[in-house]
Symmetry: C2
């Protein structure tokens, strides 16, 4: 075959549902010399990375580390480690990712009860209380904090109480919120949580930060069956990530991806969590005002700051506009997913992408394209 | 917390069982601007990467792509897609990785029959013929081409014929051979194969190139049960990697890792496969002569070029020597694994690490350390 030409990607402004634009500082860190996965210097970098993940999740959970795969590997890690065949579980579905959690749980042999509200809406405490009463034998309730497919932000505090009073574990998807919205794992008593690196952490995709509470660890230790995934089996992974007196080799960690994540977390902590959340809120308000002045309406009642999902006017060919934005302006935004396919745009304001300059750039370009 | 200092990894010479030293050219490519995973430019890069994986595997298999995880995720992908609960399979064990394949298969619900020879040895055609006769209902036979834990190279041609005559699929682990030893997927009629990026391709760890034959696809299409892993389910992944008329989103691909793999494959093809295999053979012969002149003996009869596993003399504290090599010389070599723990060194000659200069550097340093 003819060997392809050297890589020369365009410098896109990434304002879709992820990945977000990666700052040069992170790309440089990722290109640092590769160490071995058992090198003491690498172990130190890894430990620092895990500690910074704890800071960002606002947790003291010892079992906190980056799964060696993208966000969906994190979802699967949570599911396969906490569920055994025959377990009853409840899943809340108001978009694509709740549906995926259900699919994952079924593949792990769980009996899945679903609570559903229309896409774009969120779950009230009452709805959850009712579900918990209806399926009292459930061992876990799973919910999405930030539905990437609809842009809806789910309030979690009340739900967490209801779930724990019923003796269930509380598992939360924070793929599109971590680093952009407040996620308080300890305060909110989340037992298992996962996220992705390529959203509000502005790191390239490839890792999934996860954290498990002591209650979740108890559940794992009481398992009667082996975890169905070897690659994601926390009972072995913890000997690498938390091993005292030497780290047991499990699989070769994605060294340079961990470099990138470490740098992205340094940036998050330098900015400060509160400042970061405020910035995302401000940029969302700015974008919202601009989009609404263009006549575009938000779909969810409770919109995320980080993902802005708006209806596309009937007369507009949404794919054509997105393609024009990409080709003529080097700006990426997302189309609708699932029931919103062809009907919505998803505009990301995540991490490094959430700046005043980018909001202005996007609004100007979008106005041009809409003519 | 105090924010950790900027990353500043030492520039180690990586001559252990992997990762190998990553050339700057690959690290630079990995740091190129992140594109979206549905960006037409990225899709083109990904297609080129898949085509180059085919070249290196010497296959025309359409279903050839990089799994979004390290080599062990590739092993799991092969297992969970080709095996259904209750299936009988045969696994050949002569080291750690055959054992892992067994563990993976059991977690997928298979009934596993094992053929074993002592660590460091390899399987004769007769041994395989006997196993196939003993367990005729088996649907697949799995074997390791290059046992990273022992340094043994397994001949595959005769075995493949025996396995196919018995109507079984033939699955092969090429983690430590791909890019260093000949791997002819089509000629040798391998039905499912996986590897890692961080060995003889000299790319950072994080992806696992896999390939499935049309026979393997038939088996997958005839499945009665869902694949137990959502993340690794090829029936969905193929719509992203091979989809005609648009690529269906499954999970966010590890964009920058694919950049790195693409560059590493460009380097492999620039050198040419035959030249590359010869280089690994020559460097192995050079290293072998040097190690033997230091009084060190190879453990396997049929040694890999890419991984050189030698016995540590009784009077030597092997961990101390490895630590001295790392601390004083910035050279990483590996210790023994499993039954060879504390008793062997594993010296890698993989990809970018397999040069005359590095062989000389290592031998000189090792001689110093052994005093």
């Amino acid at each position: 075959m003819t060997i392809p030409a050297p890589l020369n990607p365009r410098e896109r402004l990434l304002m879709g549902p992820g990945p977000s634009t990666v700052p040069r500082r992170i790309l440089s860190a990722m290109g640092a010399s590769t160490l071995g996965h058992l090198d003491p210097q690498y172990i130190e970098y890894m430990d620092e990375t895990c500690q910074m993940i704890r800071e960002v999740y606002q947790t003291e959970n010892a079992l906190t580390f980056p799964v060696s795969g993208t966000g969906m590997a994190g979802m699967e890690a949570v599911v396969v480690n906490l569920v055994e065949p025959g377990d009853e579980v409840i899943v809340c579905i108001n978009g694509v990712f709740g549906g995926r959690m259900k699919d994952n749980l079924e593949r792990a042999g769980a009996t899945v009860h679903t609570v559903e509200v229309p896409w774009g809406e969120t779950f009230s405490d009452d709805a959850i209380a009712e579900a918990v009463e209806q399926y009292p034998k459930s061992k876990m309730l799973g919910i999405v904090h930030a539905e990437t497919s609809t842009g809806a932000l789910q309030e979690l505090r009340g739900i967490s109480q209801i779930v724990h009073q019923a003796g269930m574990l509380f598992a939360v998807d924070t793929v599109t919120s971590l680093g952009g919205h407040e996620v308080k794992v300890d305060d909110w008593q989340i037992d298992a949580v996962y996220s992705g690196t390529q959203k509000c952490l502005s790191c390239p995709p490839g890792l999934s930060p996860v954290s498990f509470s002591p209650r979740a660890i108890e559940r794992m230790e009481a398992r009667k069956t082996k975890v169905q995934s070897w690659y994601l089996d926390v009972s072995m992974l913890k000997n690498y990530y938390m091993g005292s007196g030497g780290r047991a080799y499990h699989h070769t960690a994605p060294i340079n991806m961990v470099y990138a994540l470490r740098e992205s977390l340094r940036i998050v902590l330098e900015e400060g969590l509160e400042n970061r959340f405020s910035r995302h809120q401000e940029m969302h308000q700015l974008l919202r005002a601009g989009l609404e002045s263009l006549g575009l309406q938000y779909i969810p009642k409770e919109s995320l700051y980080t993902l802005n999902c708006v209806s596309v006017p009937h007369e507009v060919d949404e794919a054509k506009i997105r393609s024009k934005l990409l080709q003529d302006y080097d700006i990426e935004i997302g189309g609708g997913l699932g029931v919103f396919a062809g009907k919505a745009w998803r505009i990301g304001l995540m991490g490094h992408s959430a700046t005043r300059r980018n909001v202005g750039t996007l609004l100007t370009a979008l106005k041009d394209c809409l003519g």
